[in-house]
């Protein structure tokens, strides 16, 4: 099985600082892949590279729609310096070559932010409609037809509201649809941000610390919500999270970063018992790490 997202030799330098160093991993379709590591390990930098907010210094990030594109074609595309290849339902995108809005629109990678970025002065419903901007803009005839009141914009907007309603019900906020997003409690804002990202119909959803600041009950709801997204939608999840119990519970695959370098990768069980991971999290000295490595 080929991976949905294949990150190869990703390096991101900020001046002299190497935030991410030669990172390679794969995220598979239908999986929840978690990116974990201590503070400052470079997790969010990886996210920003994948979603196009940063242009990586080196490396390739290939995102596949369907499995119809071969490795040879990927290499050819890379050499040619092109951004993407589309053949029917199958497509291949080189994310490092795309600006962030095209990563979201064409490659269909949606994301949330560590510090919530909702449109706080707009209603909950408006937030979800803005996420459907591109199809709606098309339906409004690039504004011209919509302005004149011809074409199917009204119908498209009704459909968009239906979709928003579906997600509002999923996150239990249907009663607050007409309230400003900034008025919602913190936990609800987190859920709304995820729902907003889902309204873009992503194939890959990148969640940056979705459980940060949530109480145990809200964390449970969040776990269920992420599980529901994976089960009922064609969306794979890439997750940054510090809450280990949540990560271990829902992830299929873990990638552990420390100082921008991948130190471990695998299923929750293998990673949990990896001495390097334990060392990184508990903060032992180099000597002890070396001793453990010799022992292994």
């Amino acid at each position: 099985m080929t991976a949905l997202l294949e990150v190869e030799h990703l390096t991101m330098r900020f001046g002299g600082l190497v935030a991410v160093n030669d990172l390679s991993f794969a995220a598979h379709k239908g999986h929840i892949t978690a990116l974990i590591g201590p503070n400052g390990a470079g997790k969010t930098t990886v996210f920003n590279c994948i979603t196009g907010f940063y242009k990586p210094s080196e490396g390739r990030m290939a995102l596949r729609h369907g499995e119809g594109v071969t490795q040879a074609e990927l290499d050819l595309l890379t050499r040619r310096g092109e951004r993407h290849l589309k053949r029917g339902d199958h497509a291949l995108y080189l994310l490092e070559r795309m600006p962030e809005y095209l990563v979201a629109r064409q490659a269909r990678v949606a994301r949330t932010f560590q510090n919530i970025r909702l449109f706080s002065g707009m209603t909950v419903l408006e937030n979800l409609l803005i996420a459907q901007h591109n199809p709606l803009l098309l339906a409004s005839g690039m504004t011209v037809l919509g302005l004149l009141g011809v074409g199917g914009y009204a119908k498209a907007e009704r459909a968009a509201i239906e979709k928003a309603k579906y997600w509002l019900e999923a996150i239990n906020l249907i009663d607050r649809a007409d309230d400003p997003a900034g008025d919602l409690p913190y936990g609800a804002q987190r859920r709304l941000e995820i729902a907003r990202a889902m309204c873009t119909d992503p194939l890959m959803l990148c969640l940056d610390e979705p459980a940060a600041g949530l109480n145990p009950r809200e964390k449970n709801d969040l776990t269920d919500f992420i599980a529901m997204i994976r089960k009922t939608h064609d969306t794979s999840v890439l997750l940054i999270e510090h809450d280990m119990s949540l990560v271990m519970q829902i992830s299929d695959h873990l990638v552990v970063l420390d100082y921008g370098v991948k130190i471990a990768e695998g299923t929750p069980d293998t990673v949990r018992n990896d001495p390097k991971v334990i060392a990184a999290y508990l903060g032992v000295t180099e000597k002890q790490v070396a001793a453990v490595e010799v022992g292994v």
């Binding site: 706080s120 002065g121 419903l125």
Partner: protein, 455 residues
């Protein structure tokens, strides 16, 4: 005061404030009001003192400060304690439900009202200086509202597009003889083109930097108009700009003129009334288009851009194009207003398109409440109409002496009024936001949550 009992009037504190205010007024106004330079018969400059007037001014400040501290501040605090919870949407609801239809009706019958009250001769001033002038600024305010109020991009050079529209019409109409109705859209398109042209270099700028570059752009356009003499005729401006006709019938005293055609006595009032309704139609068109745009994806994207640009990009919105459309459409309305202005005035010169104009339009949008059309319309009426009304302050001569010229103090009063409004309503007259779409109930959104945009 914490126990909620009304405290007695604190005269000592009020007196102290009054003395302080008098001192400040003394220091500031002594050189400004106390002395004046005048030219005598032989053109020599002599210094004249105006101490009685100066004393009245200082006294006014002292009394105002005294009244403020002694009565107004305690009254306001008492009221704030009483009314803890205030419906934030009340005013906006009232405005949209009752005030807007009333205002619309009023502007529709305004020329008739002016004619009826002041007669054909007197109404000219009221329709032209007040009606048309205010409506031009309402239109400019609506246009800038798209850029500043909705998209959150602070544009201090908006008058440049107004100038582009005016000069486009004046030059094309004089050179090629095209009619006003053909050139109106063209002037709008040209202004929109310049809007995009300005948009490109400033796309990456935000906040203060954006404001400075747009300010510079406004000045560049003005300087080009001054110095490109072969085309624009420099400071002298362009005179004899063709006036709009009544759909082909010119407004003149000839036999094929408007008055003769309809069998009316010749009078300049017909043209003025026609121009009034023309600009009113343009204003309503602008308002209608803006209202529709707000409910379309592009309008929502503008507001989202004001709220959080990074979140917009993460949702696949091309912020470059979104900003450019905001600049272009805002500039287009300024272009319409500009060509109307040139056609109404018959004469344009770079003097009209100074930074002061941009500042006035920005002030209208900010005072009105960013994003609110009713607020902008009221603010335009108050600011422009108020400035005109201040010309009529002859009764002040009774107070300050016969050689006192009230018109000279317009800017002072104007600045004072702005300070008062900004203290009273820091987020503008209409400080709530109407959502563009709703599921069950349209609730207005408090301005505290709405961001102002960072450019």
């Amino acid at each position: 005061m914490a126990d909620g009992k009304p405290a007695g009037v604190n005269y000592v504190k009020a007196l102290r404030d009054a003395i302080f205010a008098a001192c400040v007024a003394f220091a500031i106004l002594l050189p400004m009001v106390g002395f004046r330079t005048v030219q005598d018969m032989s053109n020599a400059l002599i210094l004249e003192t105006r101490f009685p007037l100066f004393a009245i001014f200082v006294g006014l400040f002292a009394v105002t400060a005294f009244l403020n501290t002694a009565f107004f501040v305690p009254w306001r605090e008492a009221r704030a304690r009483q009314v803890k919870v205030r419906e934030s949407g009340k005013i906006s609801h009232f405005l949209s439900k009752y005030f807007a239809p009333f205002a619309l009706g009023f502007v529709l019958v305004y020329p008739a009202l002016a004619l009826w009250i002041t007669g054909a001769g007197g109404s000219l001033k009221w329709i032209d200086n007040f009606g048309i002038q205010i409506l031009i600024y309402v239109m400019l305010g609506f246009g800038l509202n798209i850029v500043v109020g909705l998209a959150g991009l602070l544009d201090l050079g908006y008058v440049a597009f107004y100038a582009v529209g005016a000069y486009s019409y004046a030059l094309l109409a004089k050179t090629f003889g095209f009619s006003f109705y053909a050139l109106l859209p063209l002037a709008g398109i040209l202004a929109a083109f310049w809007g995009v042209l300005l948009g490109f270099p400033v796309l990456r700028l935000r906040g203060d930097y954006l404001a400075i570059v747009t300010l510079a752009f406004g000045e560049i356009i003005r300087l080009v108009l001054i110095n490109w003499i072969p085309v624009t005729n420099g400071y002298a401006g362009i005179s004899g700009v063709p006036r709009p006709s009544f759909f082909g019938i010119p407004f003149n005293a000839n036999e094929d003129g408007f008055a003769a055609t309809f069998g009316l006595p010749p009078s300049p009032i017909y043209r003025t009334i026609f121009l009034y309704y023309l600009i009113l139609a343009l204003v309503l068109l602008t308002a209608f288009v803006t209202m529709r745009l707000r409910r379309l994806p592009i309008g929502r994207a503008w507001e989202a851009l004001r709220e959080d640009e990074i979140a917009c990009r993460s949702l696949g919105i091309d912020t470059t194009k979104t900003k450019l459309t905001a600049f272009a459409i805002g500039a287009m309305f300024a272009g319409f207003a500009g060509s109307f202005f040139a056609a109404r005035q018959g004469f344009i010169s770079p003097e009209t398109f100074t930074f002061m104009e941009s500042a006035t339009i920005v002030a209208i949008v900010v005072l009105g409440g960013m994003g609110s059309q009713i607020g902008v319309a009221i603010a335009a009426a108050v600011m422009v109409g108020g400035m005109e009304l201040l010309r009529e302050l002859d009764f002040l001569k009774e107070i300050f002496g016969r050689d006192f010229d009230p018109a000279q103090y317009r800017m002072l009063l104007f600045g004072f009024a702005m300070v008062v409004i900004m203290i009273w309503k820091p987020r503008g007259l209409v400080s709530t936001r109407e959502p563009s779409v709703f599921l069950k109930e349209r609730k207005t959104i408090s301005r505290d949550l709405v961001k102002e945009g960072h450019g």
